[in-house]
Structures are given as C-alpha cells and as structure tokens.
Symmetry: C2
Subunit: 326 residues, 2 copies
C-alpha cells in the first residue's frame, strides 16, 4: 500500500512514524502548504511535494492521510481530496461530524472513492468502545474521562491572552468521580465534577500575573466551568518539563443485567499515551489499511470507525487471526 | 427479530434476560434436552420445546442462540444446527476454534445460513481488544489477566475429588504483575506470576482434608502451575457467600511509538462483571442482531467477532450513531 501524508505537523509526523511500523505500507510522498524545500522529513528518500501539485499523484497513492486541523482545514480539504483519492482524516469537532460526513460522502459516491472520517482515539477508539459497550449493555450509561494530558486547544486559548509567551494546559480526570463510575454508580456529573484543569504559563517580564490568572480561570467554556489552577513558570522550565504531548483517558460504561437489574456490569477502556499525536497517527494508519481493502472490494462512500470490520484493520490473514487472537 | 434459545442453563438464562433488554427482539421458544414440562422459564407465554422438535421451528426463528458446553455439546450442535438456522455460539476452547470454524462454515455455505462462533467476553470482547490494540500498535505485546472471578472449569475439577461435596474456585490476577504491564513493561511471565487460585471447599464429614488439599494444589494444568490456597467451609457458608458467578479481567496491550520507541502507549480493556453468564448472554444477543443483518444481506458463512462491523451490533440507525456516539 502506498500512503501519502497531507500536512506535516505533529500528527503528520506521527503518521510517518506509524507507517514505518507497518511492513505492508510505504510512504510515497508528504504534501505540504509550506515551501517543500524548507521541510526536512524523518524518512529518507521520500519526496516532499507542494499541495498544489497533488493531482499529479492521483494514481500513485492508495490512501491519502489528511493531517490538518478540524477548525478550518479538514472541512475544506477532506471533501475536496476525496474526489480524487481514498482518504482518512481525524475530524474531531463532534457536533459538526454529521455535516462533514455528508459532504465527504457526496465526493466519494460521485467519484467511486472510499473515505473514513473522524478517526483517532476520540473520536475513534473511544467511540468504538462507547458503541460496543452500549450494544452489549443496552440501557447502560457511558462516561468519558480525559487525561491526564495536554489539551492543545486549551493551551492555545491561554496563549492568546495578552502578556502570555507560552502555555501548557493539562486536563486531569477527577479520580473520585472515576471510581464512583467504576463501582457501578451512574451519577449526573457537572463538568466541574469530572475534570480539573492545570495550567503552566510563561508570562512576559513585568506582566500582570494576577490579571492573566483571572482571565484564564474566568474564560467561558474553556475554564470557567472547571476548577482551574495556574502556575507561572520560566521559559526554561517550560522547555524542560513540558515538551511532551502525553494524553489518555477512559470510557467507562456501567449497565445492569438480571432480575430487577441486580447485577452491575462495568466495562472500562483506558488509554495511557506518552504521545497523543503518535497514537492518533497509529490509529489513522491501520484504518487506512481498512479503507484500501474496502475500496478494492468496491465499497465506496464515506465510512466511520463504526463501519469497519476489525479484521480489515489487520495485515494478518483471517486464519491466523482466528487461530491466535480469538 | 425472533430469537430461539437452545439449552437453558446459566448461559441460556443470561440470554433470556438480555433479550428483554433489546426492544427489537422477541424470544420465540426455548429448546431443551430435558423434559419440557419439567422446565419453568422466566418469560411468560413462551413455549418450552423439546430439542427433538426443533426442525418444526425452522422458519419461525431468525437466529438460534446455542447455549451448550464447549467440551462436548457445541462441537456437535453448532455444525448440525447451522444447516437449518442462523446460529450464534460461545465456543471457548481456544485451541479447537479453527476446526470448529471449518465445520460450521461448511454447514453455512452449503445451506446459505450465517453463523457466528466463539462469542462472549473471552473469546469475544477480549479478542476484539487484542486485535484492535495490536493493529493500532503493531509490534506491541498483549497480556490477558482474568478475574477476580469464579472459574466453572476449576470448580468442577475440585468437585471430582473424592470426599468433596461442593467447591468454588476464584481466579485472581496478581496486581503487581498487572501494574508492571500498565507501566509499559513487557515481562515474560510464567502462569504463577500472573494469577492466584483461591478455592473454597465443602468436604464430607470425616473426609481427609489434608489429602484433598494436596490433591487440589498438585493437580496438573489446573492448579500445579499456580500458587493455590484452599479454605474448607461449611455448606451453609458456601450457599451464603459463594452463590454468585462474578468474573472479569483485563486485556492490556503495551506498545511503542516514536524515534527508537521512545514513547510508551498502553491500552487497557477491563471488565468487572457481577454475573459472568448474564454478561456473556448480553454479548451473544447483540451479535445475534449482527448475524441476522448479515444474513439478510446475503452474507452467508461462519463469522467471528472480527468479521462484524460494530454498527451491525446496534438497533440504532447509522445517522444517530454518528451524531451521538462518534
């Protein structure tokens, strides 16, 4: 399988790393909006190509993995590129997924291509676990906890505050809330009950730290609904202690079976990730394999992780899977 | 969907309970090898029928869920019944699954039926998590821990010892081993490193308890490879404290990404089940839905959980799943 990477930020680099770990895949090219000469990628001998030349690669790439942002990039890129390529993206703006799906699906059905959107861990692996668990335990209740991990969106929001040079925001699940759910309780949590937000901020010299802290903790939607702590640190400390992008979390589904629901049944799916973009990239890559298998079977259109039979994710043949993993 | 239950032990009762929680399903009949008059089932108005009359139900049942034992029942029942019905079973003898698969697949392809074998939690949900996790993290290592929970097979083995009236065996995962894997280590464990076995035994009056204990802890395959503790209790204590069938466990997959594998990525799927047979029954029922959908699409043959697109497990339509669970 020949894979193309469209966009070379943290996620694109994660995809590149994952391709090396999958022997049936080859990285054909990296496409960038930057000047190709300015970009040095980690894989030797692979061309870096300007996005403007992508149509010349139409028949040389089996699946194109689009590594753009969900806010403005993917809503434009994925429907357009799906007209000419099989594509995978990680569109994660939950409320806009149905609209994104419709646009990508039109491109695919009109051009006989296959796409898979909203892949990664949430949406992605977490979505799968919500679905599987609620199918096994109908009437059950699902809880998603995120962290401990770096939220890029919240870090960016702090960076936009006047007087802030750099910032890192950790989302931290409230252990007590998780343990209540693990014990089979199904409380109605507020946002504050489930997560804490811890911020590390580098301020400009002489900046009013009290004002910055107040602006952070009162920021609507991002911080106001949570208990938030703010630590001011030096640029050196930021570089030394907060250079990584760990993340993770848990999907916990609690349901009942038996007479009058006498038996609690609890399912937890938990991720502990040293690198969020590399894990997301790894997920995109194995779903790219499934997209190519579906395309070759003539199964065109826009897909989600819900539509993929798990065996299609694997490079191992069916008999081996049955013998060794079932 | 009209569901039939073939066999009415603990698992059959678990399936019956699960059918009530799925509004698109109706229990049509329970088939038993016992005398039908002797059997009182939990659902009012549903016929209890002798297994010998099953062929009269050929066109009245969409999926037959076969609730027999893996040792001798299912290897005979599933291939035979799959000639006339769409079927689901929970065949869990891992080493014999490929042979069982071939026999059932022949029945299905010759008769245009759809079957799904080896469903439940292990094999079943645990298998799915091994597969998904190893696809996302190729080169990763998977660890399965069982318990704390009642092992029926080990309890039965103790009951066969002379002088034993009743027994309950709990499989207990070694917390320290689990925590090593959760921290990203990938040790080569022995059986003894991963699980403890705790036995509660009711002995006949005057029986030689020292001999019974020795026979238990030295039993090859079942107990000899483990650290085993034996407690002698009264029949009253057995009924009071050990009447339930809890179980569970974890599948943990540990992998690496990044330059020289610098980033650990750990995925854990954990079940905490108050009732093993009711959870297994719940899994069988949602996979029965998928079997019927596949059958209606003309997708005949023997399937496993690896072949089922997750959306086929759900009674909810695709648009709703995308909008609310993705």
């Amino acid at each position: 399988m020949n894979i193309g990477i469209y966009g070379y930020g943290n996620l694109g680099k994660g995809v590149e790393d994952a391709i090396k770990r999958n022997e049936d895949m080859t990285l054909s090219a990296v496409f960038t909006r930057r000047s190709p000469e300015s970009l040095k990628i980690a894989t030797e001998g692979v061309p870096v190509v300007s996005c403007s030349e992508i149509m010349e690669w139409k028949n040389k790439i089996d699946v194109l993995i689009i590594c753009g942002g969900s806010a403005t990039d993917l809503p434009e890129m994925t429907p357009e590129l799906a007209k000419s390529f099989n594509v995978v993206d990680s569109f994660d703006n939950h409320s806009s997924i149905p609209k994104h799906f419709e646009k990508v699906n039109s491109s695919c059905t009109e051009n006989n291509t296959t796409a898979l959107i909203s892949c990664g861990w949430d949406p992605g692996m977490f979505s799968l676990n919500r679905l599987y668990s609620l199918c096994v335990l109908p009437g059950g209740k699902d809880f998603t906890f995120w962290g401990k991990g770096v939220s890029q969106g919240h870090s960016d929001a702090i960076r936009r505050i006047e007087g802030v040079i750099d910032a890192r925001q950790y989302t931290i699940p409230v252990e007590e809330a998780m343990n209540r759910v693990r014990n089979g309780e199904t409380p109605d949590f507020t946002a504050r009950d489930k997560h804490l937000r811890e911020c590390f901020v580098v301020a400009e010299e002489g900046a009013d730290k009290e004002r910055i802290e107040k602006e952070i903790v009162s920021m609507p939607a991002y911080f106001e609904p949570y208990n938030t702590t703010v630590h001011f640190i030096s640029l050196e400390e930021m570089k030394r202690d907060h250079a990584e992008l760990p993340h993770g979390g848990s999907v916990i589904v609690s349901g009942e079976t038996g007479k009058n629901g006498c038996h609690k049944q609890v399912i937890e799916y938990k991720l502990s990730l040293d690198s969020n973009p590399e894990f997301t990239g790894s997920a995109l890559v194995c779903f790219a394999r499934a997209v190519y298998k579906m395309f070759k079977r003539g199964d065109f259109g826009c897909k989600t992780v819900f539509d993929v039979a798990p065996s299609d994710l694997s490079a191992i043949d069916r008999g081996e899977l049955i013998a060794h993993l079932l």
